[in-house]
């Protein structure tokens, strides 16, 4: 059985800020990480591999991004993926949700056409759109189950515990299917030395659009139905009254008065 895990490398978002005067990004000291939700997806794949030895599961990770995305894929290999592909080409630049999903779909179709299950993070923490996996599922013509927290394989079907607003659902689908993960049990696991050394022996291939036969008119800016018209800094917010709370009795009294004056205390 083949499980494809789609991953993205993202900047550690809380370290990105905009210079309010120039409107440009302040980038000093920003590190890139494997998107945490993608890591949940990979962990789930590894868990399935460990709990279903009879399925002889192979885990293949695919990503699209600049050449340095290799670091995120290397981490996937350390965490238990068997093989990694990076789609990296200037032709992909400017891809929006549609064009990104087209490139990744072509990657899956050309590299792992016999996949049984695709796992992905529910969203990337830099864009937060949560739309790419569903567009890939549609382009591949397979069913999708989003917001998964637990994945099981039961009688050749995938069964997912899915978060909904009022609680949970158990949803099942025949494979091949695509599942996105919104939670997992392992956060930033540190791989063992053996896993780190092993990862370097596993195949990690960097491929261009031509390598996998993607028509360049289908990807990148030209193929993107949405276009960024403008980027700007969000308006600066001005805070209200800040008091010193070193005397907790006075502080509590001030807080109570603030709430009474503003009508928030009801008997």
């Amino acid at each position: 059985m083949k499980i494809v895990v789609l991953v993205k490398q993202v900047p550690e978002a809380d370290k990105v800020a905009v210079d309010p005067e120039t409107g440009t990004l302040i980038r000093e000291g920003i590190t890139s990480i494997l998107n945490p939700y993608c890591e949940y997806a990979l962990d789930e794949a590894v868990k399935l591999k460990n709990t279903h030895p009879e399925e002889n599961i192979e885990i293949i990770t695919i990503s699209m991004g600049p050449p340095q995305t290799k670091m995120a894929l290397l981490r996937c290999l350390e965490l238990g993926a068997d093989k990694a592909y990076l789609l990296s080409d200037r032709k992909f630049a400017g891809s929006d949700v549609w064009a990104t999903s087209t490139a990744l779909k072509e990657g899956v179709v050309n590299l792992e056409p016999e996949f049984d299950l695709i796992l992905a993070g529910k969203q990337a923490i830099d864009g937060d759109t949560a739309q790419v996996p569903a567009e890939i599922a549609e382009q591949l013509g397979v069913p999708q189950i989003t917001y998964g927290v637990k994945v099981q394989i039961v009688d050749k079907k995938v069964e997912v515990k899915r978060e909904i607003e009022t609680g949970y659902q158990i949803v099942s689908a025949r494979m091949p299917a695509l599942v996105t993960m919104s939670k997992g049990s392992n956060i930033r696991r540190i791989p063992s030395m053996k896993e780190v050394l092993n990862a370097r022996k596993k195949p990690l291939e960097v491929l261009t659009a031509d390598d996998i036969g993607i028509d360049e008119n289908k990807v990148g800016l030209k193929a993107s139905p949405t276009q960024v018209a403008r980027i700007f800094a969000p308006p600066e917010k001005v805070g209200g009254e800040i008091i010193d709370g070193s005397d907790h009795i006075v502080a509590a009294k001030n807080l109570l008065e603030f709430l009474i004056v503003n009508n928030y205390i009801k008997e």
Partner: protein
Amino acid sequence: MLKVDYEACTGCKVCEKVCPFAAIIVVPETKKAKVLDTCTLCGTCVNACKFEALSIERRAISEEELAKFSGVFVWGEWEKKEDSNKIKRVVLELLGKGRELAEKLGETLSVILPGYNVEHLIPELFHHGADKVYLCDHVLLEQYTTDGYATTISSVIATEKPSIVLYGATPNGRDLAPRIAARLALGLTADCTGLDINESRQLLQTRPAFGGNIMASILSPYTRPQMSSVRPNVFSKSNPDSSRTGDIVRVNVNLNRITIRTKIVEEIVSQDDSINIEEAKVLVSAGKGIGDKENLKLIEELAQELNGTVSGSRALVDLGWIPHPQQVGQSGKTVAPTLYLALGISGAIQHLVGMSASDTIISINNDPEAAIFKVSDFGIVGNMFDIVPEFIKQLKEYKRVQTEKPG
């Protein structure tokens, strides 16, 4: 593809300075601009270049083709509440915004309403501004499924050709909208915080990027309909006018069981009322600063005294101290209560984007530099473990005195 005209480029470095992604540099040897791999083609440098040395190849638009599309559509999502169906609040919020957009365009506002036995929900949609409702009534639409809903709504869009379609960015909205966008090869802008019509009659979609650190305005110039999703509590609900009415179009839904490839085996509804933080009037929210899971009891006690609900930051969800449905922020829920108390929350930008629309924000944090103070109406720099118990004591005393007052 971003192109540099070497004849025109003077090496003035303006592009280097304005690029939000450090993706263009002026090479010292040649004194000409060079585009790097990190370029996202956002166009900032093109607008900034005084010498017209930079250009982006974009595809041509057929005005004639685009003009065939007309009307603002909203997906009429509903939910089961106490055994009856109810239109989701975000739909009423979208109708308010949709009305505004439709009027600017001089077009009509419609709702696509898939479901089973949901006709009784229609009057409310008219009251909130819809001119027309496409009723897609079918037994296979009794529960939300990706395939059933995507097929039904896509076919209405393909036949009716609206210029704009809006979705609530609810869990199901985020499941559905991209599926439809991919089917119809359309653009989709997720989690918009602003929607407007520009001078070219295009939908200007504004959304936060990089966790809210920057804002991006996005257009879908070449394809119709233009599609966006909007989180609940971003726009305000329109005021109902109970005299308003409209047209009902009964859509002939063609669905069969084989086309719905997922099956809902079971649904576990959580009994915990506190889970619905999106509709709470008062939220008492805790962050990493509470230090210990035990201290949640103090937060709960405070919430109870203020008739509020407990919520928290992502850190607490990652630690497993509170469930994900109670998470506020970019990867959780966007909330806008009348009162938001932030205790031990430093105010990472991902958290702020999820709560800064609250009417009143109060924060207690021992770090005077905490970003949460910047959005607070009232802030206390101090130890919450001293201040909160004392506050609860004083509040109880105040309430006691109030109830003992004659009259």
